[in-house]
Structures are given as C-alpha cells and as structure tokens.
C-alpha cells in the first residue's frame, strides 16, 4: 500500500525545494520569522521607520521654519506651497507637523524610558526579590493605581507647571503602577520556570542568573510593553497639550498644534486634520508593531 500523497504535502514539498538551505533556527530567528510573516506588523515597522527618518531629517524636509510667522499668508487652505495650509499666524502647518514628529517621538521616547526606569524597575525588583519587597512595592502601586493615569499626570503637571521635563516626570509617575505590574509579571513568569531552578542547581550566581537567563527570556515581553507604551505616551501627551496642560506654545507638538486650531474647527478644519492624522498614524503604527511583536515573541498569546 503506497503512502498517501495529498495536495497539501505537494505544496510544502515544492516550497521546501525552492528554499536553498534550511535557515538556522534559534529562538530569535523563530521570532523574527513569525514577525516577518505578519503583514500588518511589517507595515507598522515600516511606518515607524519612516517617522524616525522624518524626525531625523525634519530640517531638510520642512519647506519653512516651523515658527516663522507670516502675516501675509494667514489661514490659507492647503495648496502646493503650503501642503497642509497655514495657521492663524501664517505658520506653515506642514513644517510644524514635520518638526512635531521630532518633538512627539523624542518626548514619547523619554517618557517611555523614564517609565521603564521607574515603574519598570520597581516591577522587576518586586518580581525578582519577591517576599517583603514585593509586598511593599505592589501595595504602593495599588495606591497609585487608584488615581486614573491621565488624571495623575495632569495633577502633577498642574503642580509642577508646563514643560518637557515636567511632562516626562508626570507621565513617569502616572504610569508607574501599570509599568510595575506588567514588568513584574514578565519577571515572575521567567523566575518560576524550571530552567532557573536547574541553573541554580549547577551553581549559577545571582548576577549571571539575571543577565544570562532572566533578562534574555523576559526581554521579549518587555519590548512589547515598551512599544505599546510609546503609543500610550504620545496619546496622553497630545491629549494633555490639547487641553492646555503639559507643554506650552510655540512648541510644535501635535497636541499643541491641535490646540492652536481648536478655535477654527468649523472655519478651517484642515488646521486640525493633519496633526490629528499624524497622531493617529503614529499610534496605529506603534500598536500594529507591538501587536506583531506580541505574536512573534509569545505565539501562545495569539
């Protein structure tokens, strides 16, 4: 009796024949393979790369100085000269949005890094040491969590005043409980695994354990949180600037540009359209990428 050959088998044989040699399979290449197979994730990555390039080369891309006021051309609708139109001071919105990429991305990055170094670190400490340290840290986080994140951030900015460092501090404090919780969970999952115990048994010391075993295994999940939080902080930041808390004019941050256009919603909606689109595209890209990373690092979650 011959073995059965099915169309599905032929398809795979054909594909295998095309492949020159088998790719070395390490956990990292496996993750990358899964990420590559995910078109939406790749799209997210692509958009993020473009945004980064835009931020770096903002002065080359922007046709005008983002703060140059030109009273001769105020409130112009989008045209070839002013792609996104101009605002009530005659500033080129396109240039402002391009420079806004710089501000928004950099501030979001600062916020996220700060959040990781405060809440994230606390979570890692709580997860790694456990016991009394864990209890104390997590109880404090419970307290922080009872104030909604954006409200906490606004209260802090209200007290500290507007400005980039203040904003970063506010986001950092406000995000502490969420960050701590998720990083703690990431560490706990690794810490509870058998390979940590088996490494303990062969005499691996604490430092090597953290560097060689725990971080490499937890880092995937942490990257997911990191990317996700970039989107969160951009959204928080723009919402705060929009209602006038956080940054102050004339910084070309997207939320602030929106704030400028607030009064002209009905007469000149384009003033808000483009910055709003930028916020949306950026957050969407980060979220798509984060989602792809989640599937790539942790296929069980899908």
């Amino acid at each position: 009796m011959a073995k059965i050959h099915t169309p599905a088998m032929e398809k795979i044989e054909k594909r295998n024949a095309k492949r020159k040699k088998p790719v070395k399979s390490t956990p990292t290449t496996e993750s990358w393979k899964r990420f590559k197979r995910n078109p939406t994730a790749l799209l997210g990555l692509f958009v993020v790369c473009i945004l980064i390039l835009v931020a770096i080369f903002a002065p080359l891309i922007a046709p005008f100085d983002y703060q140059k006021q030109d009273y001769a051309s105020m409130m112009q609708a989008p045209s070839m000269k002013h792609l996104f139109g101009t605002d009530q001071f005659g500033r080129d919105i396109f240039s402002r949005v391009i420079f806004g990429t710089r501000y928004s991305l950099v501030i979001a990055l600062f916020c996220t890094i700060a959040a990781f170094f405060s809440g994230g670190l606390l979570g890692i400490i709580a997860g790694y040491f456990g016991g009394i340290a864990d209890t104390i840290i997590m109880r404090i986080m419970d307290v922080f969590q009872s104030i909604p994140m954006i409200m906490m951030a606004m209260c802090i900015v209200a007290v500290l005043g507007n400005g980039i460092p203040q904003l970063v501090a506010a986001v950092m404090f406000a995000s502490m409980p969420t960050m701590a919780r998720s990083n703690r969970a990431a560490i706990l999952r690794v810490r509870g695994s058998d390979y940590i115990e088996s490494s303990e048994a062969i005499g691996v010391g604490q430092i090597r354990m953290i560097i060689k075993h725990m971080i490499p295994n937890a880092v995937g999940v942490m990257i997911i949180y990191f990317v996700g939080f970039l989107a969160v902080s951009i959204m928080m930041m723009s919402a705060m600037s929009y209602i006038g808390v956080g940054l102050s004019a004339p910084t070309p941050e997207w939320g602030l540009i929106l704030n400028d256009g607030k009064a002209y919603l009905t007469s000149a909606p384009y003033m808000m359209l483009f910055p709003a689109m930028m916020i949306m595209i950026t957050c969407f890209a980060f979220n798509l990428m984060g989602d792809g990373l989640r599937d790539a690092f942790d296929p069980r979650l899908k």
């Binding site: 956990p27 048994a201 062969i202 075993h213 295994n217």
Partner: protein, 319 residues
C-alpha cells in the same frame, strides 16, 4: 561500607495560608557510596522536596545532611556553593522546561563549567563541554542546536551532561525518565547505569514508577506524606513487602503479563493533606488494618530485619 550521604531527621516545612505543610517530615537515610537509593511515592509525598533539600535548592527547616561526614544542610550558602555545589548535582524531571530556551546545546553544557571552574580558558571549557557531549551520546553536529529542536531523550541527555560536567559524586535524579517514551526511557536508564559503573557515581533516584525504581536501585525507600515508611534493599521490597501502603502500591501496578492475575489490594480514598498533620500514622485514613493505636500514636521507623525498616505499629504481623 562507607556512607556518602547521611540524612538525619531532615524536615522541610512550607508555610501556606492554611497552615504548615510538612513536605518532608523527619526523614533519615543513609546512602552508600557508589549505590543507588530509590525514593518512591505518589505525587505530593515529598520525594522531590527531599531531593531539592539535599541539593539545597530548598533550605532545610531542621535536621542534617552529612556529606562525607560534613553537615552541608546547615553551612552558610556561600561555603556550600564554593566547596560542595560541584559534588552534588541534580537531573531534573522535565527536560522540556528545565533548559533555558535561549541557549544552544554547547552553551548549556558549558555553563556549569564556566560558572564553577573559573581557572579554565575558553578553549578548555569548550573542549570539556564537547567531551561531556560525547560521554552522554550527543552527536557533535548538535552543538549549535537549541532545545526546541531536539526530542525529549536528547534534551534529557543535555541535562545529564550539565550535571556530570562538574564531576559530582552524588546525583539526585528527580524523575528523569517519567516524561519520556518507553523506548527512550530505556536509553536514558542504561546511560545512567553505565555512567555509574564508569565513574562510581552515587544516585538518589526519585520516581513514582515502581518497575523503574526496582530496575535501577540497590535500596528503596517508600515515602508517604513526607515520611519514609519502608526502607529496604530493592529485591526485598518486591518479595517481602511489609508496610500495608507498600503492599498496596505494589499490588496496584499493572503487570504486562496476561497470565498473572494478581490479587489486588485497592486502597480507599486518596492522599490526605500534608498540612498540619496530626500526631498519628500518616497512612491511617486509607489503611485497611488501622486500629485505635494507629490513630493515636505515630509509628517510628524500626529495623525489623537487617537493612529492612518499617514504620508501622503492626509490622511484625505483616512479615
């Protein structure tokens, strides 16, 4: 005969929200050099905890573990790690989860050498790791493979190589074959036996499988709810079991032979809770012969014959 390991009144309690869990309760054992002691029991009887306490993966609540006469259970962790960690090693139950998925075979086997023998050069470490791979029967081409690419038998060989690379003389084998298929199980058991013969290793072999433990052990200790209830040479237990629990355990094993129809002793109920146990025979709730005395007094492990001890008030009756 020389005892490599002497366990004296070892206790390991865990505190849980519902009370103290007596995982290992007053266990005493002697393990002779070059021999294998088998620890059998059902899940929750504390056999793994016993192994991990010997390894100092858990700190003992009280009692002593003498290694060549030195108490290793109560010495400072630092000293233990420095002087004794290499001598006592462990092979883990689940070869799927006990290897770091982000390391390849060579890295996994190099790790114990790297950590414990700091005076070796990189090349020497690699050479030693390769030597270990050969010893446990892992082909050289697998060096750069990751655990997820290998089958259970090979992963367990990695686990064995990791343990052996430190030249230990005592190895705790915690259910090393229970996650493996029957045909692979035989490969690993033979490997362990060959290594023992070549290197004069001493094993503590923890398992729930009576036939495996009988095959590989010289002495057997049966555990029930944290206590050793019967201790004797391997052959003896299958011919002259004394404790009612051991009898039940043996009679419960299905024999792959159609002509042997065993008289079966079916126990009532299931394992009782090891949390805050009362002062009585631990087996009393399931024992068909339990009397008033069993409910009130905790039996001690008594030597009835040479090398055969039983913890039962009425042991003589069952002899």
């Amino acid at each position: 005969m020389e005892n490599l390991i002497e366990v004296k009144n070892l206790k390991k309690y865990f505190s849980t929200p519902r009370g103290e869990l007596h995982a290992v309760d007053n266990v005493s054992l002697n393990i002779e050099k070059g021999k294998t002691i088998g620890i059998v029991g059902e899940s929750g009887c504390g056999k793994s905890t016993l192994g991990k306490t010997l390894m100092r993966l858990h700190n003992a609540t009280s009692g002593q573990v003498l290694y060549n006469g030195v108490d290793i259970a109560n010495m400072p962790m630092k000293e233990f790690k420095k002087d004794y960690r290499s001598n006592i090693q462990m092979i883990f139950q689940d070869p799927y989860s006990s290897l770091d998925p982000r390391m390849n075979v060579l890295q996994l086997i190099e790790e114990p050498i790297k950590v414990n023998m700091k005076n070796l050069s990189k090349i020497e470490i690699k050479e030693k790791a390769q030597e270990m791979m050969e010893l446990v029967g892992l082909a050289k081409r697998l060096e750069n493979s990751y655990p997820h690419e290998l089958d259970g038998g090979r992963r367990q060989r990695i686990g064995i190589a990791r343990a052996l690379s430190l030249n230990p003389d005592f190895i705790v084998c915690d259910e090393p074959v229970s996650a493996l298929d029957v045909s692979i199980q035989a490969q690993i058991l033979n490997l362990l036996q060959n290594l023992q013969a070549e290197r004069g290793l001493t094993y503590m072999f923890i398992t729930h499988d009576m036939s495996v433990v009988k095959h590989i052990s010289d002495d057997i200790a049966v555990m029930y709810l944290g206590q050793v209830i019967e201790k004797c040479p391997a052959n003896e237990i299958f011919k002259h079991t004394i404790h009612p629990y051991s009898q039940a355990l043996l009679s419960a094993i299905p024999i792959p032979n159609v002509h042997v129809k065993k008289e079966r002793m079916i126990l009532r109920g299931e394992l009782t809770s090891p949390i805050n146990p009362k002062k009585c025979c631990r087996f009393v709730a399931r024992c068909p012969y339990a009397t008033e005395k069993c409910h009130n007094e905790e039996p001690e492990l008594r030597e009835l014959k040479t090398n055969h001890s039983v913890a039962c008030h009425y042991a003589e009756k069952f002899m």
